[in-house]
């Protein structure tokens, strides 16, 4: 019996804990295999640690808007949104309808780009370099749209308690609509490709199957849950901002394998595209931008628990006001916290070659995922994820 150990370092955006001096070891999935089959998974933890929760307590709650956005660059809009909504609930502020529509527009554009990037990465580890490049090229259109709306390609810095920080005029609105028209056929093409191309489907079908019971007992959220038929979407449950007013559907699939999860993401991207077009054509008039000089300076006592549907799943913030300008406590639970740490059970029984595919289908916030350490028969070797995917598979 040969013992193979696979260590895949991934780093996660988890703003845990206040002051932690040297903590930076990425989360390590230590996978033990007997031959080619996975028999044990250990989560060796360490997080991408920047002491964010403490920083929230050390800074005024307005600075917190900008800190929260920088917890995760890929889904910064949703972080800022859920934090700002929590603050608004404590302050008793209500943004105008126009501001709410614009906020949702920013979040949905972000959902599209985030889903595109994880699918591009999936294509890349399967060996499809061309598809990776094509998706990234088309993703640039979405970044352009985001830039026209918010002023920033990646970091939007768009939110402020009470509304948003910039408005759009008709010229910008038409430009964004044009871009959305161009993206639509591309998204549909990629979805079709993932559905029918045998090189993709052979590697993803029946890999990493999760049953609904596994999902809820382990607290897995987002497209992972929806890919197994669990119909949960914070946008439909909390109906925050304008999700109760605009027409949209919760996407679910029942197969529960990696392909279902990736297809849920393509379907959601197309659904988001529909939402963006609806928003732009039904934008209410009025003020959207907040006059920052008139905002209150003190965060009153009270507690708020706000949630948002980030591209990766349910993101929750629990904010406790202190009566001063600094919050008493801000607790952040990112979707990857559950999706990656609690999912160690799901690799058992599959081949080592399937491990990167399953991991990428969970959409970890990837920072340095290019390399893995393969220890076979006591010999240590650095391999790329793509090489692991090409290893022998057993069924």
């Amino acid at each position: 019996m040969t013992e193979t150990v696979l260590q895949i370092p991934i780093s996660l955006e988890i703003p845990i804990g206040p002051q932690h001096p040297a903590l930076h070891e990425p989360v390590m999935l230590k996978v033990y295999a007997d031959g080619e089959e996975v028999v044990k998974v250990e989560i060796n933890t360490g997080y991408n640690h920047r002491g964010v929760e403490k920083l929230f307590e050390m800074n005024s709650f307005y600075k917190g808007v900008f800190i929260s956005a920088r917890i995760c660059g890929i889904c910064n809009t949703v972080h800022a949104n859920v934090y700002v909504r929590g603050i608004e609930q404590l302050l008793g502020l209500e943004p105008s309808p126009r501001a709410k529509y614009l906020r949702v527009l920013a979040m949905e554009l972000e959902r599209i780009h985030s889903h595109m990037i994880i699918n591009a990465i999936m294509a890349e580890i399967l060996g499809f370099d061309t598809l990776f490049m094509l998706i990234m090229r088309d993703r640039e259109l979405v970044m352009k749209a985001k830039e026209i709306l918010t002023g920033g390609r990646v970091l939007a810095d768009y939110y402020m308690p009470g509304g948003v920080r910039r408005d759009i005029d008709d010229v910008k609105k038409d430009r964004i609509l044009d871009i959305l028209k161009k993206i639509r056929p591309r998204l549909e093409y990629y979805k079709k490709l993932f559905e029918v191309d045998p090189t993709i489907t052979n590697r993803l079908v029946d890999v990493g199957v999760l049953k609904p019971r596994d999902i809820t007992l382990h607290g897995l959220v987002g497209p992972i849950a929806r890919g197994s038929g669990v119909k949960t979407d914070v946008r439909a449950e909390d109906k925050y901002e304008v999700y109760g007013e605009i027409p949209w559907n919760v996407i679910t699939r029942s197969e529960g394998d990696s392909l279902a999860r990736m297809l849920v993401r393509w379907d959601e991207a197309i659904e988001s595209l529909n939402m963006c077009e609806y928003i732009l054509t039904h934008l209410p008039g009025g003020q959207a931008v907040v006059d920052e000089r008139k905002l209150p300076r003190v965060l009153p006592l009270g507690e708020a628990f706000t949630r948002v549907e980030a591209p990766r799943g349910e993101l929750t913030y629990y904010i406790i006001g202190s009566g001063r300008d600094r919050p008493y406590r801000v607790k952040v639970r990112t979707p990857s916290f559950h999706n990656i740490i609690n999912s160690g059970f799901s690799y058992l029984g599959y081949s080592i070659a399937d491990v990167p595919v399953i991991l990428v289908s969970y959409d970890p916030c990837i920072s340095c995922m290019e390399r893995a350490i393969l220890i076979k028969d006591g010999e240590k070797k650095y391999v790329s994820l793509r090489d692991i995917v090409n290893m022998k598979r057993v069924r």
């Binding site: 903590l23 640690h49 009270g302 708020a304 628990f305 629990y318 639970r333």
Partner: protein, 154 residues
């Protein structure tokens, strides 16, 4: 009791005599304060009533209430058929914060219980995966510091 009817039940009815008092967290999320000794009973009742595939534990948030000498552990639970999030709030003494684990009933508390242990020092009885240094770096662990406590110095 058929599935359809039980999913409509109000959680207050399910928890019944376990609730010490009710509070709320904005935006109108109900908080049920329960004694820490009944947390397993409370969760089991919720799981039995709504079904294992209809609820999940969304967040475990520990809060150091320094002034009151108490560490609060809040379990935010999402009840899907009711589209509602409720909070089970327990209060542990700051001097000896101990509570029963839920890991054998709900394996998904693995991440949350480990985090709360490492950062606040809450002991979850029966969870043998708990270890210091899960998140906190070695030098802080070496000083016996729980970083998220209000009086933590490192």
């Amino acid at each position: 009791m058929t599935e359809a009817r039980s999913s409509e039940l109000d959680p207050k009815q399910v928890l019944g005599n376990l609730v010490i008092r009710e509070e709320f967290v904005k935006p109108s999320r109900r908080v049920f304060v329960v004694d820490k000794s009944v947390i397993r009973e409370a969760i089991t009742r919720l799981l039995k009533t709504y079904g294992e595939t209809s609820i999940y534990i969304s967040t475990i948030a520990g809060v150091d209430r320094f002034e009151q000498g108490v560490i609060e552990v809040n379990y935010f639970i999402s009840i899907l058929p009711r589209k509602e999030v409720i909070v089970l709030r327990t209060q542990l003494s700051r001097a000896e914060p101990v509570i029963d684990t839920l890991i054998d009933i709900v394996p998904g508390v693995f991440a949350g219980e480990n985090e709360t242990y490492d950062l606040l020092g809450v002991q979850f009885n029966g969870n043998n995966t708990l270890k210091r240094g899960f998140f906190v770096p070695e030098d802080v662990v070496g000083k016996g510091v729980y970083p998220l406590r209000k009086d933590a110095k490192w």
